[in-house]
């Protein structure tokens, strides 16, 4: 129907965005008693997300004709933006921005480097930037979940942690069980995504590849590659963050600094 009303592709895209955004707002209005804060947060997040993705689309359009290495700068910019978003979810953790920057940079950066070096992800802007952004975005989400859960666990178990410290435990030993809980819970979405692949959902990249003429079988295999890459990057980032976060919430004399 929209194709007939809006023959211009760009105009149709804007209208489709409006319909999708209004649907999300309608759902939040419906559920406002459960989460009143989302009434303000969701429209702002939508507006921000829309502006950002349009900007990326414009940058991609401009970069298409430039040298391939420029995609690295785009991805580095995304890592900085991701770290900035994680920082907001990791309130009370000192130095959360630097922590997230290192964790996402090492996690997503090294896994993407391995994938491009082996040729699994071609070093072409049109592939590296979209796939890289998916890896970075999912790593960012996992980081937010990890740090938020870890912070919650620590604040809920200050007595147990200080009891362990009082017995002479190192900070790492005192929070080991809470790091494990945060690590596991933050990776559940990534594991479930792989587990449910093809049964519960057919991800966008596969749909896009099929629509653009690729073999469905190759598209399916590539989708697995992308999701496995996302899992590796997310898990590696959490692994790095688990070492960094322990140093940030304790003093040099093994005193717990993160308290309610």
């Amino acid at each position: 129907m929209l194709e007939h009303l809006f023959p211009n592709q760009l105009a149709r895209g804007v209208v489709e965005c409006l319909i999708a955004a209004l649907t999300a707002i309608a759902v939040i209005v419906l559920a406002r008693r459960r989460a009143p804060d989302l009434l303000k947060e969701v429209p702002l997040a939508q507006l921000r997300g829309l502006l950002q993705i349009v900007a990326v689309g414009a940058i991609l359009a401009a970069l298409l004709h430039g040298p391939q290495w420029t995609s690295i700068f785009v991805l580095v910019g995304m890592v900085f933006a991701a770290a900035s978003i994680v920082r907001k979810r990791a309130k009370q953790i000192p130095g959360a921005f630097a922590l997230a920057l290192i964790a996402i940079g090492v996690g997503a950066g090294s896994i993407l480097a391995i994938m491009t070096a082996t040729g699994v992800i071609p070093l072409r802007i049109l592939v590296l930037v979209p796939v890289g952004s998916m890896v970075i975005a999912n790593t960012m989400n996992t980081q937010s979940l990890f740090l938020d859960r870890f912070r919650g666990e620590v604040l809920a178990h200050v007595g147990e942690i200080e009891s362990a410290l009082a017995l002479g435990a190192s900070p790492e030993a005192a929070v080991a069980r809470y790091l494990r809980a945060a690590f596991r819970s933050s990776l559940i979405p990534a594991v479930d995504n792989i587990r449910s692949l093809g049964i519960v959902w057919i991800p966008g990249i596969m749909a896009g590849m099929v629509l653009s003429g690729a073999s469905p079988l190759f598209a399916a295999l590539y989708q697995f590659v992308v999701l496995s890459t996302i899992f590796s990057a997310s898990a590696l980032a959490c692994f790095v963050a688990s070492y960094l976060v322990t140093k940030r919430i304790f003093s040099a004399h093994s005193q717990l600094l993160l308290r309610a």
Binding site: G159, E160, E162, S163, A164, L165, A166, L167, G168, A169, S170, A173, R177, S251, H253, S254, Q255, L256
Partner: protein, 200 residues
């Protein structure tokens, strides 16, 4: 046994936390065996100065794992016999494989005391260890601590909000007020005679 008394917010718990170095003094220093404790490693200091908190804060697992935790942090593997012996000393024979969640408040606090003693500390800090317990459990833990401290010749600092408990348990009493020591000495000298204390 030094009992530490004072109103809420006087700094009693903070004093113990500084001695165990869970908190850092903003000024001044703590001396252990005549040496500024900042020269010692925190782990070594905390092994020598045990601490029991207001609540037991037992770790998930078994009672035996809780008791073995402290020595493990210092590279010592405590045997099942040693754990059974320690539990026997606090009247919890046969509790080694129990889940902490199945214990009463008094039993949990006795495990917390055992856990602290498993490190064989020279000094034991007790931060209102009976305040969360009911009357019977409180008396049991008081009697237990009294005998353990005498048997092991432990130096003990017991924070309490109860002048009566300070009088009963303390060889000496230290009174804190707004972060300052206002009196120290024999219980009767610091707390007054029994009738005075009762009126207070």
């Amino acid at each position: 046994m030094l009992a530490i008394v004072g109103p809420s917010g006087a700094g009693k718990s903070t004093l113990l936390r500084m001695i165990n170095r869970l908190d850092e003094p903003t000024h001044g220093a703590v001396y252990f065996h005549g040496e500024d404790y900042r020269g010692l490693s925190t782990s070594t200091l905390r092994r020598s100065i045990g601490m029991v908190m207001q609540r037991a804060y037992l770790f998930p697992g078994t009672i035996a794992e809780n008791i073995a935790f402290g020595p493990q942090q210092h590279g010592i593997n405590i045997t099942a016999e040693q754990i059974a012996d320690l539990l026997g000393q606090v009247g919890l024979e046969g509790y080694a494989q129990r889940d902490p969640l199945t214990l009463s408040g008094g039993e949990a606090q006795r495990v917390a005391i055992t856990r602290a003693l498993a490190n064989q500390p020279e000094v034991l800090l007790l931060d209102e260890p009976t305040s969360a317990l009911d009357g019977v459990a409180r008396s049991e833990v008081e009697r237990l601590l009294e005998s353990l401290i005498r048997e092991r010749h432990l130096t003990c600092l017991w924070v309490t909000h109860s002048p009566e408990q300070a009088r009963t348990m303390g060889d000496r009493v230290l009174r804190l007020d707004a972060g300052h020591m206002t009196a120290i000495g024999a219980p009767d000298k610091v707390l007054g005679q029994t009738s005075e204390a009762s009126r207070a």
